[in-house]
């Protein structure tokens, strides 16, 4: 007979299970070892194609290497570069600005929309949900090309501005020295807002209606109810939306590659784009690796921070 101690069904206090597991502890051990066989394919592929290259990148980050000739060890020089070379540290700052557009604004929009819409609209929601999730399934390369066209001199944005009498401020938005980064960021806002809104609305649906009744009895108005019932209620969704969108902002590559390619004059350069350019067109593999590590550290720091902040808010 199979040993129940090796399955999910172990329940504390069940005498049968306890005696069985003691009697056949060697069988249990064999089973737990055999379980590793099932893990092997996933572990091998994941380790070979993700973990091993990740560790290799750390090694590469200490080298001066063009990808062809023999490398020389330069210690932490490549990391020092990130702080000294304006091209590198400005790219990191640009990525931080993108967080405002990819995360802060979409989360805010999502929360406002949740307050306005929750519980009140049922009919036709399938249609709206399908539309609001659409930007999530499209390749960002295609999104980028679409927005290049919207932002172009003859594009729909300028057409609209001219139509409402703002013809004087029309321009090629992605080529504008001061505004290109914001124009790029706004594409992120467009991609992420629907996701945040749908996540929050789904979360808000799970809130116990009695909480609103109680708040109402305490004399709370709609705004107060939103702040003290809805907001805490969707906290897990806020956390996860912030994590997903922040990673997308910091590591964004596809959008920048097809819209501005870092220009004009490096105004929209981001770490991911530099990692690619340094490693594969400029032959500075070491610097590229150090920047990739720095980017990863930045992502981990932000994810940890977001989790901590939202946990403490409870």
């Amino acid at each position: 007979m199979a040993n129940p101690a090796t399955t999910e069904v172990v329940r504390p206090g069940s005498p049968r299970v306890r005696t069985t597991s003691r009697r056949s502890s060697s069988a249990t051990r064999r089973r737990r070892t055999k379980a590793l066989v099932y893990l092997a394919p996933a572990l091998l592929i994941y380790t070979g194609f993700v973990i091993y290259p990740a560790l290799n990148t750390i090694q590469l980050s200490f080298l001066d290497w063009d990808g062809v000739q023999a490398p020389t060890v330069v210690g932490l020089d490549n990391y020092a570069q990130i702080f000294q070379n304006p091209e590198l540290y400005r790219s990191v700052l640009n990525a931080l600005v993108l967080i405002v557009f990819f995360t802060v604004i979409p989360v805010a929009v999502g929360l406002v929309m949740t307050a306005l819409l929750m519980g009140k609209v049922r009919r036709g929601m399938t249609f709206f949900r399908t539309v609001f999730f659409l930007p999530q399934v499209l390749p960002l390369v295609a999104v980028g090309i679409t927005w290049r066209w919207l932002y172009a001199e003859t594009g729909i944005l300028n057409q609209f501005l001219s139509a409402i009498g703002l013809g004087s401020i029309t321009r090629a938005w992605l080529g504008d020295y001061d505004l290109a980064l914001y124009a790029l960021g706004f594409i992120g806002t467009w991609v992420m807002s629907g996701l945040c809104m749908m996540l929050f609305l789904a979360g808000a649906q799970k809130i116990d209606p009695a909480l609103y009744e109680a708040a109402k009895l305490d004399g709370a108005g709609p705004l107060r109810q939103h702040l003290s019932v809805t907001l805490p209620g969707v906290r897990p969704e806020i956390t996860i939306a912030s994590v997903i969108t922040t990673i997308a902002a910091l590591a964004s590559f596809d959008l920048v590659f097809v819209t501005t390619d870092g220009g004009p004059a490096n105004q929209t350069n981001v770490p991911a784009l530099l990692v690619y350019r340094l490693a594969f067109t400029r032959g500075e593999v070491g610097t590229a690796s150090a920047l990739a590590i720095a980017l990863t550290v930045l992502v981990v720091v932000f994810v940890t921070l977001i989790r901590r902040i939202t946990r403490e808010a409870s």
Partner: protein, 274 residues
């Protein structure tokens, strides 16, 4: 809930406005694609004549025969490989209690936060050393591995959410591990597997950085990677570029419309369970 009709109208008005903001870019794109190739297009303008031939032109000039073939080879290989690995690993972690199971779970989940940029440089040189750049195997291995943290995690939480009595009953009937998985658990896992498959298909289809790095040969690139380069060559030919963009997204949009339930539940639950 009781709401005044005017309130309801305002709410639907707001929803419609937002939906328009999402859809308008695509309307603009489709209209642009129907203008004459090479013509200057102005924002939202109806073409004098519908130039459907742009799609054929973009297909041919962009080399979409090759691009689409590569895209389907990569995506249709990545989906089953990822699924099999994720099913076995998720089953093991959720049901079989392997040695160091908790640590191994964490080890996989770790991968959910790692950006592609961290691995792409070293992966390129590693694969180059063994002759797997410009090779479908390299790209497939890369995307499968990148999506395994999600896959394993998805299947593990799926198996863990199934009633323990199922496993118990299977065990009493004398089912071994593999029989338990194949005869008892998998037949009840259809929706979870469909969701995993469509998400992996989508993320593989959309993968860009990994493909442009590992595939230097333009003929072997996937559709989005090809489109990313097409942009450089046809910067000013908006109608052709728009047509190429529509061709590139068409398969994923069609899948989304068919499997929207799976997409939406996968994206939101996958996020929330984390």
């Amino acid at each position: 809930m009781r709401t005044a009709p005017t309130g309801l109208v305002l709410r639907y008005g707001l929803l419609t406005l937002l939906a328009l903001l999402i859809l308008l870019p695509f309307v603009s794109l489709v209209l642009a694609a129907l203008h004459e190739s090479g013509a200057t297009v102005a924002g939202l303008a109806l073409p004098e004549r519908l130039h459907w031939e742009n799609f054929a032109l973009a297909w041919q000039q962009g080399g979409y025969n090759n691009l689409m073939r590569s895209s389907f080879i990569v995506a249709l290989s990545a989906v089953p490989i990822n699924a099999v690995c994720a099913i076995l690993a998720g089953f093991s972690l959720a049901v079989l209690h392997p040695w160091a199971g908790k640590h191994l779970s964490v080890f996989f989940v770790l991968g959910l936060t790692l950006p592609v940029e961290l691995i792409v440089i070293a992966l390129y040189f590693n694969l180059r050393n063994v002759g797997l750049t410009n090779n479908y195997l390299g790209v497939i291995g890369g995307v499968v591995a990148l999506l395994l943290p999600f896959g394993v995690y998805w299947m593990q939480s799926h198996f863990a959410s199934m009633p323990p009595s199922l496993v118990e009953a299977g065990r009493i009937d004398g089912a071994g591990d593999l029989t338990l998985l194949r005869r008892v658990l998998l037949p009840l896992s259809g929706p979870a597997l469909t969701t995993l498959a469509v998400l992996v298909f989508m993320w593989t289809w959309n993968q860009f950085l990994l493909v442009i790095v590992l595939m230097q040969d333009p003929a072997m690139r996937t559709a989005p990677a090809g489109l990313g380069l097409f942009v450089g060559q046809y910067t000013t030919n908006i109608p052709l570029l728009a047509a190429a963009t529509i061709i590139t997204v068409a398969p994923i949009v069609i899948m989304y419309l068919i499997f929207q339930r799976n997409f939406i539940s996968g994206i939101s639950q996958g996020a929330i369970k984390e």
